[in-house]
Amino acid sequence: MHNHDHQLDEMYRDIILDHYRSPRGRKDVADPTVVNEGMNPSCGDEIEMKVRLKGDTVEELGVHCAGCAISVASGSMLSEIAEGRTISELKVIAAAVKGMLTTGEVPEEIELDELSDIEVLEGVRQFPVRIKCALLAWVTLVEGLERYEKGGSGENASTTEDANPTVIV
C-alpha cells in the first residue's frame, strides 16, 4: 500500500485517475461542424476536438488529448456531458468550470455536482500551475464554438508566418 499524500490526492482523485487511464470520448467524429486544436504553450501539450452540431445542439463530440493526467481527465469529462447540450449551455458550464478553478465562484444556476464527475476537478485549484491543464479542453471547445458562431469555418486558422531566416537543420 502506498502512503499517499493528502494534498496530492485532492488533485489526483481516483475518478480523475480513472478518466486518465481510460479516457472517454476518444473517437473520431464524422462530418464535424467544428474542429479545433488547443495547446498549452508552457508545457507543449496539445488537444484536438471535433464536434458535429445539429442546429444549436452538440450531436457528437470527440476529443484526443496528449497531455497530463489532469488535462486528459478534464477532456474526458467534458466529452461525457457535451452531447445533447446546446452551445449556450456548454458556454455556461465552461464558465462555471473556470470559476470553480480560479476565483472559486460558480454561478448559482449551475449545479456542477449534477454534471457527471466535473466537480472533482476542484482539487486542482490548490495547484495554480496546473489550472491551465484542467482548462485546456474547455477553452478549446469554447474557442471552436465561438468561431463557428461568428460564421467562421470552425476550422482553426493556421498561424500566419512572416519572413524567417533560411535554416539548415
Partner: protein, 416 residues
C-alpha cells in the same frame, strides 16, 4: 524493497551538506531531495553571509567614490573580477564583464558584436541542443540582419555529430555559438574541436558555459573560444550575477550595448565616448552585493577543486542512471557513457506525464524539473513535448538517488 549499495563517493557529501542550510528543510513533510541543480543551485552559508556582510558593513555605490565605504565596496566588487579571471584560465581582468547571467551575456554579444559583424548572407552556426538563451538571440539577429542559421546535428545518444561539421561550418560562417554542456542531455561537447574548425573559416566562437562552468574545470584558452558566458546562480553563487569573458581585441572593437553612468569617458550634449574595458560594458549600478558574494562561491568550489567536483558528479551520475534504468520503465535521453556527460539526467517514464511525475515527486519531497527546459526545438527532436530532469551537484548523495528511484516506482503505480 532492495536497497542498492552506496557507491564510494569522491567528496564527503554528508560534510558538505552541513554548509547548505536549505538542505535541512522538509518539503511536504519529507526531507528535501533537491535535484533541480541545472535550473539553479543552493548556496553555502558563506555565500549567504557574504551578501549580508556586504550590506551590514560596506554598502556603497562602486567606482569614483572617494569615501571609505565606496572604496571597500569597489574593492569587494572588483575582487570577484580577479577571481573569475584566474578561475576560467588566467585571462586579463579587463576581459571579464559582469552581467545578470548567461542570458544577458549572450545578448550583449549578439547585439554588440553580432549587430556589427553579421550581415546579409552570413551564416550563424548553432547546435541542435542549445538553450533558448543561446538560440533566440541568434534567431533574432539572423532575422534582423538577413543572416542564415545552420545547426550541428546530434546523434541518437544526444551527442554532437561532427561528421558533417565541415559542410555546415562554411566559409560564410561568421559565428559559431555552442553550449559546452547541454542542460537537457548532459552532453559535454567537443568545443575545442568545433572552435578549431570555426577559426579555420575565420568565424568567431562563443561557448555557453552556463552548465559547464559549475561542474567541471574550464580553461577558455585551452577551449580556444572567443567568448564565454556563464551564471553565478548555477554555481553556488547569488541570483542576478553572471559574466561574459571575451578576447580583448574583440571587446575593444565592439560598441557598448547598454549605455548610461559608469561606462562613459566624456559626455557632451550630442555625443559620448566610452570608458576603458571592462567598464565600457557595465552601464549603471551593478548587482554589487551579488558580485561581492559570488567570490565566496569560487572559494567554496576551490576547497575541493573542480576535478574533484567533476569526479564526484561522474560517480553520482553513474549510480543514478543505473538506478533509474534498473527500474525497467525509465528511458534516459543523452549519452549513456558518464564520461561524456554531466549530471543533468532527463528521462521519460512510460505512461506518466512529466508534469504529473514532477508533482508526484514533490509530494515525496523530491524536487525535479519537468518541461522543455528552455530547449523546445531539442525536446521536439527527442519526440517529446516535455521531459523530466533530475540534476545533481556536489552535495547530492546516492541515498538521494535512491529516494528518487523509490518515488518513481510509487508514481508508476499511482498513475499506471
Amino acid at each position: 524493497m532492495q536497497e542498492a549499495v552506496n557507491q564510494q563517493q569522491v567528496l564527503d557529501s554528508a560534510e558538505i551538506r552541513k554548509d547548505f542550510p536549505i538542505l535541512e528543510r522538509s518539503v511536504q513533510g519529507k526531507p528535501l531531495v533537491y535535484l533541480d541543480n541545472a535550473a539553479t543551485t543552493q548556496k553555502p552559508r558563506s555565500v549567504i553571509d557574504a551578501e549580508a556582510e556586504y550590506y551590514l558593513k560596506h554598502n556603497a555605490n562602486v567606482h569614483r567614490g572617494i569615501h571609505t565605504l565606496a572604496e571597500e565596496a569597489t574593492e569587494a566588487y572588483e575582487c570577484t573580477r580577479d577571481r573569475i579571471a584566474s578561475w576560467i584560465g588566467g585571462v586579463a581582468r579587463e576581459e571579464v564583464i559582469f552581467t545578470r547571467g548567461t542570458t544577458e551575456a549572450i545578448n550583449l554579444v549578439a547585439h554588440s558584436w553580432g549587430g556589427a559583424n553579421i550581415g546579409k548572407g552570413d551564416r550563424i552556426v548553432l547546435t541542435q541542443m542549445e538553450h533558448h538563451a543561446n538560440l533566440v538571440p541568434w534567431i533574432q539577429l539572423a532575422k534582423k540582419n538577413g543572416a542564415e542559421l545552420a545547426y550541428l546535428p546530434i546523434d541518437g545518444e544526444g551527442r554532437l555529430d561532427l561528421s558533417s561539421m565541415d559542410s555546415i561550418i562554411t566559409p560564410n560562417t561568421k559565428l559559431v555559438a555552442i553550449t559546452q554542456m547541454s542542460n537537457v542531455l548532459g552532453t559535454i561537447n567537443p568545443a575545442a574541436e568545433v572552435a578549431a574548425r570555426a577559426h579555420s573559416v575565420g568565424a568567431v566562437v562563443l561557448a555557453d558555459g552556463a552548465q559547464s562552468a559549475p561542474h567541471m574545470p574550464v580553461d577558455v584558452k585551452v577551449l580556444g573560444v572567443d567568448f564565454f558566458a556563464f551564471s553565478g546562480h548555477k554555481m553556488l553563487g547569488p541570483t542576478g550575477v553572471g559574466a561574459l569573458w571575451g578576447r580583448r581585441e574583440l571587446l575593444e572593437a565592439m560598441e557598448p550595448w547598454q549605455t548610461g553612468g559608469e561606462m562613459i569617458l566624456l559626455v557632451k550634449w550630442d555625443r559620448a565616448t566610452w570608458a576603458e574595458l571592462p567598464h565600457k560594458f557595465e552601464a549603471g549600478t551593478p548587482n554589487i552585493a551579488g558580485v561581492a558574494a559570488w567570490s565566496k562561491a569560487f572559494d567554496y568550489l576551490d576547497r575541493f577543486g573542480m576535478d574533484a567536483v567533476r569526479s564526484h558528479e561522474v560517480e553520482w551520475t553513474r549510480y543514478t542512471m543505473n538506478r533509474l534504468l534498473g527500474l525497467g520503465f525509465v528511458n534516459i535521453f543523452g549519452p549513456k557513457d558518464v564520461e561524456e556527460r554531466g549530471s543533468a539526467i532527463s528521462f521519460e517514464v512510460e505512461g506518466v506525464h512529466p508534469h504529473d511525475l514532477a508533482q508526484f515527486l514533490d509530494s515525496r519531497g523530491v524536487a525535479v524539473r519537468a518541461g522543455h527546459h528552455c530547449a523546445q526545438p531539442l525536446t521536439k527532436l527527442l519526440g517529446q513535448t516535455s521531459t523530466t530532469r533530475a540534476s545533481g551537484y556536489l552535495y547530492n548523495t546516492t541515498a538521494e538517488s535512491d529516494r528518487l528511484a523509490e518515488a518513481l516506482l510509487e508514481a508508476k503505480k499511482y498513475f499506471g
